[in-house]
Structures are given as C-alpha cells and as structure tokens.
Symmetry: C2
Subunit: 208 residues, 2 copies
DNA sequence: TTATCGATTTGATATATGTCAAAATACGTG
DNA sequence: CACGTATTTTGACATATATCAAATCGATAA
C-alpha cells in the first residue's frame, strides 16, 4: 500500500474535544487515524444523541459520508490525536488502477457494515451486563491487535458516552462496572481499567 | 447503468422461507432484489437471533460478505421473490473501467452504513412506540419511492420478526400496534396495514 | 366444510433499567 | 496548592418492557 503515501494529502492534529467533522459538512476525504481516539455520534432533532462508535489508531473514519456527499455524523477527538487525510476522489482514482487497493477499500467498507450488525445484535438482544462486557472485550481485542495490553488500558470516554453507545444510562454503566468489580472480573478506577479474569468475562457472553 | 446488464449472471427464484445465503457461505456475488421481500438475520451462538434488515425490490444485499469473503448473516425470502446475481469479481472489474459505476457501488455501500447508524439510534435511544412508528414510516417511505401506496400495504414479516428487528418482544409489538390503532393513527388487520394519519405518526417521532 | 396448528391478542405479574437525588471523587484553573 | 466544577458512585423509587399464560383468530390441508 505504498501507493497510499502518494495519496496522503495532509496530516492534521486535534486536541480533546475538537471536531474532525460535523454532520452536514461537505464530504471531501476519509481520515485514517494515526494516533489518538475519536467518537462518532449522530444527533436526533430533539437533542437525543447516539454514539455510534469509538475509533482508534489504524481505523478509517468518514465512510458514511460517501452516500450523500455530506457527513451524516459528528466525529470528535476524545484525546489529542493525529489523522491523515485521504481525499476520496484521489482514492477512487488510484483504486481504479490497482485491484488490490480497490479490494482493500471495499473490505474496509464491508467491515464497517459487519461491525454495525454486531452493534445491532448487542443493542437488540443483550442485557446491560452483557453489553458492557461485550464492549470491554471489543476494546481489549483491539488493543491486543495493536500490540498493547489486552488487560490493562485507559477508557478514553465518559460513562455517559459509553451509555449512549450501549443504549443505557450512565448510572447503569457505573453500577454494572461496580458489579463486575465485586465479582472480581475487573478492577476499575474511573478511567483506568484492568481485566482480572478474561475467560470469566468471556463466559458472561456465552450462555449465562 | 446498462453496463450492468452485461454483468447479470443469472436470475434466481425463491419461495417463502428459502435461504438466499447462509452465514458462513463463501462469498461470490451480491444480489439485486428484482421482486419480493427478504430479511437478513445474524444468529448468536446461544440461539438468540437478531433481524438486521428487511430488503425489498431494488435493494442490494450481501455487502457484509466482502469483508471476510464469507457471508456473516442469513438472507431469507419472506415471500416468493426473484433476485439477480451480480458476481462481485466482475462488478469490481467493471467499476475499474467506469468511474460512474465505481461511485455508484461506493454509494450503495455507504448508504448501508448510514442505514445501520439509523437503526443504532433507534435501538439505542427510542421507546417501543417510537421504534415501531419509525419502522412503519420507513416502510411507508420505501413503498412510496417505488410508486406504491405509502399508506396501504402488507407486512411481509411476523410480529416476532418485527420485534427482533426493533429489539422488542412480539407481545410488545402487538400491544403497540393495538395502541396506535386505538389512537386512530393506523388500521391493522394482522398483515394488512393502513396508515390513517401520516402526520400524526410523524409527530410521534418528533418531540413527543 | 371442518380440524388443526401456528400466529396474534390480551391480561396479570415480574423485573431490568430508568429517574431523581445526594454524596463522593476527580480534574482543571487560577 | 486550593477552589470550584464536572464526573462518578450509590441509594430509593418509578416505569417500561418482559414474562407467563390463556383465549382468539386465521390459514392450511384433509
């Protein structure tokens, strides 16, 4: 993918709270997260918000905007972050030249669809505890895939944001964290979390 | 899009209950629904099922499979249906030749991502009545876009399937239909539904 | 037509999660 | 470093939806 180097238009820095883009913005580029952490959220007219994802290093963000040429959600930095801008027109042109790149792009989009299906399953059929466990295991796995500790990491988002993502209220998130801690499955200190019993957590999802 | 004609590999017929594909099947093609109605569902190991969508004429199905080269959900015919098979390798080759087709394909995938975000919002932050109303309005709009009546149509799916899609139990679906009927918003007779007060339904979603 | 079986409706009750409120804790700023 | 503010935790209580059960309805096949 060294063709991609030619493509990278610019690298930008954002600090906690900055918007990478807002719903309604004209679509120009996808963004590859180079460092840091983002959330994406859609806002309902009546003020309700739904967090639709948390994105970390190596992930591509902005795919929703291709559909209408305008972004359909907000992307907000949860910590100081850097992103590489990938102008979509150029990306399409390059992927017409390279079947490998083309397939890669298609897989990235498809993976996002599969991810979303997983969240539907979570929101549609899991209880609060299962949702939170699934969330933690997903983070754990993504950190592991990046060579970081799968059992010891910082939560970049608030209880409120976790709750929005999981379709629960922040109090429920807090209570469920406390519960998992009482059972000896995790150790949590505000944003610092340690998974004490990974198999134990995994078994929360299967059957029980 | 007459290039697409060259692409259509075969047209297949399915009767109610037939699987178009199953989770785990090797990915070869996307499918354009030519007539009829399908549902897609993901199955959890412990037997839980989540309906992830209902697809009708003109819609493309199978995008999730690009990611892993294997289907990640089941697609089941809800009535007698016909689909056109679009071999994905050929589709990619053609879209390398035609920027228009390429963009079209990207928009279809992106639209699916946006649709999924909408369902997350629904599952994550709406009450039962709002979910069902949103579901009905979505069907209404899709029928209207196809030149069919936006106020008078057949539900192709069971209460159970609607419930799975909306993250609710079938009893809740039934009760909520009854409630909307009592309020004079809809007239429902098992699978036949008539929307009596479209603005009234729309106002269920905004504010109230 | 009638019998049968699955789907739907409705009722009574249970329960998970939400709501409201207060206390405790962490964090940013001057 | 200390203050003020925002976030988190915890408790008591409310409520939406689930669960369990029974009755009804509708479609299919003999």
């Amino acid at each position: 993918m060294n063709q991609l180097d030619a493509l990278i238009h610019a690298k930008h820095s954002y600090t906690r709270g900055d918007y990478l883009y807002r719903s309604g913005d004209k679509f120009e580029s996808l963004y590859a997260i180079h460092s840091g952490f983002f959330k994406t959220q859609v806002l309902h007219e009546d003020g309700r918000e739904q967090v639709t994802g948390f994105q970390m290093i190596g992930e591509i963000i902005g795919l929703d905007a291709i559909s209408t040429d305008h972004h359909t959600c907000d992307a907000v930095a949860l910590e100081d972050s850097e992103v590489c801008e990938l102008p979509f027109g150029k990306l399409e042109a390059l992927s017409r030249e390279s079947p490998t790149l083309q397939r890669h792009l298609h897989k990235i989009m498809s993976r996002e669809i599969v991810r979303d299906q997983g969240i539907m399953l979570l929101l549609g059929s899991m209880r609060a505890e299962e949702r939170l466990v699934a969330f933690l295991l997903n983070l754990s796995q993504r950190f592991a895939a990046r060579g970081m500790s799968p059992t010891d990491f910082q939560l970049r988002m608030s209880r409120q944001e976790i709750g929005s993502y999981l379709g629960l209220k922040l109090e429920t998130i807090s209570r469920t964290f406390s519960l998992l801690q009482q059972r000896g499955l995790i150790q949590i200190q505000i944003k610092s979390i340690e998974i004490l019993d990974l198999p134990g957590l995994q078994s929360c999802l299967k059957g029980a």
